[in-house]
Symmetry: C2
Subunit: 228 residues, 2 copies
């Protein structure tokens, strides 16, 4: 069964933790991934070769792999260079996710996608923030598109994700699987994304974002205490 068929209609759990979190240890990320698969996730999305390698040994489902890299000269940070993709593939990822927004980047998008196809033999998931970027990514060879970066780039930061209109446009205009990712914060929202034609739904913070959720709760309680 090919990868796209394996994930169709399913939940993909992004298992990540901030680098300074006690939960960022590879064996803990692997345990999160294992628990997600045990409870029905069809795939997982994992950042950094070390985590991908640990997860690869723990689960058999497809791994969407990426490597977030902060490059001083470029805003693009999800698997921005071919060398990053090489490490992600070597660690065991089945699909390489990369930033496919129109922002300045160290290597041309088309070259990057074609090298990943030709030299690594892996499909590419394009993380985008607009229909234009998505269409350009597909034209450059991207196999899947994710709404991942909507709400996280300069041009979209004013609107919190998810964007249902973006999802609908992508489904309507593009012929590749569209993954709804970013801002999905309840099972109801996930079902809505599927109903709008998403091929599959990626959820991170609401399931595995323990650090961030604690911060959100603490901030809300503090705000309340300051008022009383």
């Amino acid at each position: 069964m090919n990868l796209a068929t394996q994930i169709r209609g399913g939940l993909i759990v992004s298992c990540q933790a901030p680098a300074d979190s006690p939960l960022a240890a590879p064996e803990i990320i692997a345990a999160m991934a294992k628990a997600a698969v045990l409870r029905g996730a069809v795939a997982v999305r994992i950042n950094t070769p070390a985590h991908i390698q640990a997860v690869r040994q723990a689960v058999n489902v497809p791994i969407i792999g990426l490597w977030k890299q902060t490059l001083p000269a470029y805003p693009v940070y999800i698997t921005p260079r071919f060398a990053d993709a090489v490490a992600v593939a070597a660690a065991g990822a089945d699909i390489i996710a990369l930033d496919a927004t129109a922002r300045s980047r160290p290597e041309p998008l088309q070259d990057l996608i074609q090298r990943i196809h030709n030299e690594l033999g892996k499909p590419v998931m394009a993380d985008i923030d607009s229909l234009e970027n998505a269409a350009a990514a597909v034209a450059a060879g991207a196999d899947w598109v994710g709404t991942t970066l909507f709400g996280y780039t300069e041009t979209t930061a004013h609107t919190p994700p998810p964007s249902w209109s973006l999802l609908s446009q992508l489904v309507e205009h593009l012929s590749v699987p569209i993954l709804s990712e970013g801002g999905i914060a309840s099972p109801t929202m996930a079902a809505k994304a599927l109903g709008l034609g998403a091929w599959a739904v990626v959820v991170g913070t609401d399931i595995t974002g323990i650090d961030l959720k604690v911060q959100q709760y603490v901030a809300a309680l503090k705000a309340n205490t300051d008022l009383s």
Copy 2:
């Protein structure tokens, strides 16, 4: 600073995982607790001596300890016997949480609370499901009351937690700290509980319940796929 002052207005994170989960390993529960404290939790709530012991070595904040025990003859399952409380205290818990509903139990509530005070020197958190049970628990010596079991007992199962009216009644009628626990599923709800007079707020599933949340998402997506 006494325990009650330490937790006032704060977030208490319940770090638990189903026994069959890859996340149920003591070192992972300890990492969850450590992450929660790193991000601002004032205390943690931990089940089983093995997890309490691991968490005790990882954090300095107060631990509300309990031991869920399924007893064939009794519906009460949160730290139902003095022997359970001994193990919880020995593992390093600062407060012993126990089921203080009016259901049949292996040892009288008043005896259990007084033995925990006199022989273990620990305060007791009474997990209840009604104002009457809470009042009886306080009369029997309970130091704190938690709304923990509302919605989880035969008499309250028809109403999903949290019960804001129960919380308000407890705050109004009782003079001990009232902890809002059970069904708190967003920072907004947590702030509301504090606004209604909760001494502190306990959150479990929405922050650390990875297994259960994946199941909820998978069920919602499956229901959607079955429809389309």
